[in-house]
Subunit: 229 residues, 4 copies
DNA sequence: TATGAATGAGACTTCATTCAT
DNA sequence: GATGAATGAAGTCTCATTCAT
């Protein structure tokens, strides 16, 4: 919660360099853990290899984290922060003025970019079901993100019934996640094509929710079904 | 003398039981394994607990399966069979005469039902990424299912460009899977609502692909994007 | 102790073919065990593979032998019989008339031939130290063979002090065994050359014991040592 | 930071201890292993009992050695070192000036002493054939020792045909080994008497090779054989 | 008697975690 | 604090032996 800062001005205390080193070490550990979890999966990852990758000792890792799960949770929280930052950019005041399709596209692109660049993101996204604690943590994260989407929908989709907002938000987050997962393990062009198509899917899914309801009809999908008969 | 063992080669099954009692034991083991994998996840599941749950000895489990991975693979294959059977019902000759929306709905309902009733299905769907071998196996299964969908699309969506069929098929399978995963760990009414909404999402996503293209335009989504500018 | 024979004359009883089959099976098991022990070593050999090689069931093996060690002991005893037969040929009445060098050569050749042709011999000779029981058995065998040699020496080396006969006999058996072991694992020409040289070694070692002592001197070797000074 | 682990490649040692306490622990483990292997034989020896005997934990044993075979190999190498040291004493420059019989006697005495005092020596000497890797290692050791003997023979037996030196060296090593093995499991006075007699055997075997060939004849043995006809 | 499925003790090995230095 | 050696619980897997059919 609190980012420790140097207290007071004046001569830098002796402890500053120590704190500095400590912070760097923590960062190295988290980075190492992200790579290890990403490559090996949660259970196959070992604390020893994490320490090695971080070029520190196993003892130091335990100085920062109670146990293995705590390391994973720290990654999950870090990713939570990153995602919040991403959302701050994608779904901000300014974004509300942009066409909703652009917001969706930007969001999906941001997700894809994160997935490509951030081992921690991949590790957490894939390892979400591994332990009860982790599942709860990542569930909470998912709900938080859905909450952000919900807030956005309030403005962007004024005609969407209030009690459907949560559902639709979850659909967006989880639908994109599903495709992202598939895209990750397929990789390459196939993966990228999937992410592009995810935009198409989401645009079509959301379109009817974003416009005022057509007079005398239900959803477009239903109308389509009727028309076919 | 007759039923002989398979050797090596990634095959899961070590001994094919001929006797009644053996067959029952094998079934108990698979059932126990499904529950254990479902509850604990692949890595946390232990062979000993599987044996315990099956009310048999660890030795018996190893009489049927070379190792832990082989047990999981057997489940994956079993689920593969079940899914094939489901597809035989949902996407058969008869289905081609039904409206495509009905086929999608039926497919999603079948998936949801399977997910709710079958621990093996849940375990496999969730544990797909855990080992190279398992990933390959379940990837193959995913591709096979997508292939089935592709065949269906050939008739049901005659206007869909041939080279997009594979992509769209994968989107259907993986998009639904993603929602299914989320629905599973949320459970209850929330889960069921998600599965219902998945139908809406898929109907809307597919509708433009199923109808003849609107004159003078590409996909609706693209046109929509263009119009907004 | 007793070789079961058909009782009485007349119509061959119904059980005869069963006994016949049984005897054959026992032989197959012993043969299979010999090969398995020879190839794998005592501990790595498994009862299951022995049964497989004998084309019978593990249950049948246990019909004949209380446990694994008993199988090995049976082989040791069988080899004992073979060796006795060999000695009956090499060191018999007739042999006493032949020059002692010829007897030694014939004995070593017989050992080498046995080692080359008989898996059981190799297995037992190599596995002699594996368990207390086996060691005792093969020790007993070694002593028995040495005993035979001793009897031969009584006639062939009349000038050898009575109380040295046991020692010399043991030296012959164990010295040749040592070379045989080395020759076995080296194999090929190198192995054969070693066995030939073993004859040279034994002839030279025994020569002074076989002739009347040179007047005014100890063993030739000692004299040699004296001469060198 | 400094002393780093070796990776793979058949090497036995996993961690080279720098600290005093560690070094002692490693020594205790090796000592315990020697006793365990000596008493139980390679296959029957268990890592757990080795740990117990060394009064340490199974984990510590695995910190030093990758697996059971690595422990055995470490013993084999240690013995290799000991034997090299012994040979440095027995077959050095000085020794070349002594009568060859004295060298042989000293060598056999040294072997016997080692066998009596060193459990590792007994274990290795007896367990040499047990696994491919171990066999190769101890074969290499045997050949090295034979090589040393060969070098000695070059000077000590100038009349011995060059191409027989290797054979004769092997005979010395393996012949003595065979007697040593027998002496070990017989033990006590009988064992000691065997080792003494081994000296006699080797002196007689080697004598003809050490002196200039008798004029107009091959080896004495051959001549003897010829004369008998 | 023959069979081979079932059993479970016990071996090897890994790795999260602790703790002395 | 930092280090990494030590620990031992727990997991995987094998195989000698038993026993129901």
């Amino acid at each position: 919660m609190f980012v420790k800062k140097e207290k007071k001005g004046g001569t830098p205390s002796r402890r500053v360099p120590a704190q500095e080193r400590s912070r760097k070490r923590l960062e190295r550990i988290l980075e190492a853990a992200a790579e290890e979890f990403d490559e090996q999966g949660y259970e196959s990852a070992t604390m020893e290899r994490i320490a090695e990758r971080a070029e520190t000792s196993i003892g130091s890792v335990y100085q920062f984290f109670r146990n293995k799960e705590a390391v994973f949770l720290a990654l999950a929280r870090k990713i939570g922060g990153t995602l919040r930052a991403v959302f701050d950019v994608v779904v901000n005041e300014e974004a509300l003025k942009a066409p909703w399709e652009a917001v969706i596209d930007a969001g999906i692109d941001a997700f894809a970019a994160l997935n490509e660049s951030d081992a921690a993101f991949r590790a957490v996204w894939r390892g979400a079901f591994l332990t009860r604690q982790v599942l709860e943590e990542s569930d909470a994260l998912g709900r938080e993100l859905a909450g952000r989407v919900e807030v956005w929908l309030r403005t962007a989709a004024p005609h969407l019934a209030k009690d459907k907002r949560a559902l639709v938000s979850t659909m967006i987050i989880e639908g994109v996640s599903g495709i992202l997962l598939a895209a990750t393990w397929r990789g390459g062009d196939e993966g990228r094509a999937l992410m592009q198509e995810a935009k198409v899917m989401m645009r079509r899914y959301l379109a009817p929710y974003m416009s005022p309801p057509a007079p005398g009809a239900g959803t477009r999908a239903k109308r389509g079904a009727i028309l076919k008969k």
